[in-house]
Amino acid sequence: MSNIFTSSIGKKLMMSLAGLFLLAFLLLHLAINITLILYKDTETFNRAATFMGTNPVIKVMEVILFGGFLLHMVYGAVLQVGNLMARPKGYKKANYSQTSFFSKYMLHTALIITIFLVLHLFDFWVKNKFLGSVHEITYADGETYHNLGALVLERFKIGWVVVVYVVLLLGLGFHLHHGFQSAFQTLGINHKSYTPVIKTLGVLYSVVVTTGYISIPVYIYFFK
């Protein structure tokens, strides 16, 4: 059993399970964020965000989520170091083999996502949770919420922030494009008829999630 943490295939299993979990999280996150542009005001968003921030179950999940990120990143780094060590002397002529384009750049896109994560966490999560720099708002039912929505709207009215977000989100999209189907392959799910479906779903997922996320700052910048 211990080999599941130390062997190459074991480490990859960790990567893929964490990855799949993060894929699910991204959908949930998108579902909440998209309310910002689906609804006229930010009430739904603020209510959902607060629910996410206070519900005890979600709080546990938050820890798991961070664990997931950490696991995915740490194992990714460990595997990457192993990969680099496996070819101490490289080729003069760059590899020309026919492979899926995005799969070659998983490390690069992972670094982009890390930058994004730091920026993003600081922008919203840290500000909200630790700096207390988010205003409060009270809705008709008398409940008071952090007006996170207002913060988002404010940030995404700044042109360069939008540009940076869009660029970094594209990196995420590329990562997901390969990551989605790769996770299934690692889990041993490869089938003559199902694998093409998984691959299509992966493309669909990465396109939908990326456009979904990108649409938020862009929409806010131009239309709110």
Partner: protein
């Protein structure tokens, strides 16, 4: 139609000239370098290795040391040859070994860069020759069914569904050339190991030792310093026998089942 047939039978192609940049390294410890050679009047029907033979004859004529490269059967089955040509293991064609590559796949005047397989477990021995004994070690770790000679049941007492036998054969076609490792950006040997694991996983004879086999072979693979699979599919694209990634997935399943149902 008739004209096409006619053409293919009679047209003699013009001979071609090439610039070769070849990795030369005196021995395992020496520092290597690229040497440039000009080669003239090569027939397009010449195989890549025959082209190197011609180069070597010219080098010997000049009292220079010929380029060393591994090769034996020259019909794509022994797995001895393997050169990294212009960024691709076994060069610019699909489903072939280096010895099956022909010069008609290049253009007159092309510069061709020839490198050895690069991977830590495949150290260069000389020039383009690498040591692939790591593959033998993986097989020795468990790539067999433990039966002694004699005392086995009649062959037809072990029926195998035809579909499974076909999948086993697809995997068993591996020639152990190492192109998968050479192509992989991580120098991973997953396709090679998976081919053997998958072959036996598809056969009833392989079931008895299935768990032990996959664990031992993967352990040995890791120990030898191969990289990890990131499912890019370069191995599948360059495999001369076109062995599919699905065998890697099967090995992963075997591995998980061996780990969790121990």
């Amino acid at each position: 139609m008739s004209l096409l047939r006619y053409r293919s039978e009679i047209i003699k192609f013009k001979e071609m000239n090439f610039t070769l940049k070849i990795w030369r390294q005196e021995n395992a410890r020496a520092k290597g370098r690229f040497e440039t050679y000009q080669l003239q009047d090569i027939s397009p029907d010449c195989s890549f290795l025959e082209m190197l033979d011609i180069l070597n004859q010219q080098l010997i004529d000049k009292f220079e040391k010929p380029v060393c490269f591994d090769h034996d059967c020259r019909e794509g089955i022994c797995g001895a040859c393997g050169l990294y040509i212009n960024g691709r293991p076994h060069g610019p064609d699909k489903g072939i070994t280096t010895c099956q590559l022909h010069m008609r796949k290049f253009k007159d005047g092309d510069t061709i860069v020839v490198e050895p397989w690069r991977a830590k477990p495949f150290p260069v021995i000389k020039d383009l020759v690498v040591d692939r004994s790591a593959f033998d070690k993986i097989i020795q770790a468990g790539g067999f069914i433990s039966v002694n000679t004699g005392g086995v049941p009649d062959a037809n007492t072990i029926p195998v569904p035809r579909k499974n036998a076909d999948i086993a054969m697809d995997a068993a076609a591996c020639i152990g050339c190492g192109a998968c490792v050479a192509a992989c950006k991580n120098a991973s040997a997953m396709l090679f190991v998976a081919a053997k694991v998958s072959q036996f996983a598809m056969l009833p004879q392989g079931q008895v030792e299935a768990k032990e086999r996959v664990l031992k072979m993967v352990q040995k693979m890791d120990e030898l310093g191969f990289g990890n699979c990131t499912n890019t599919g370069a191995c599948e694209a360059e495999c001369p026998k076109e062995i599919s990634l699905s065998h890697i997935a099967r090995m992963n399943r075997e591995y998980f089942s061996a780990t969790f149902n121990a």
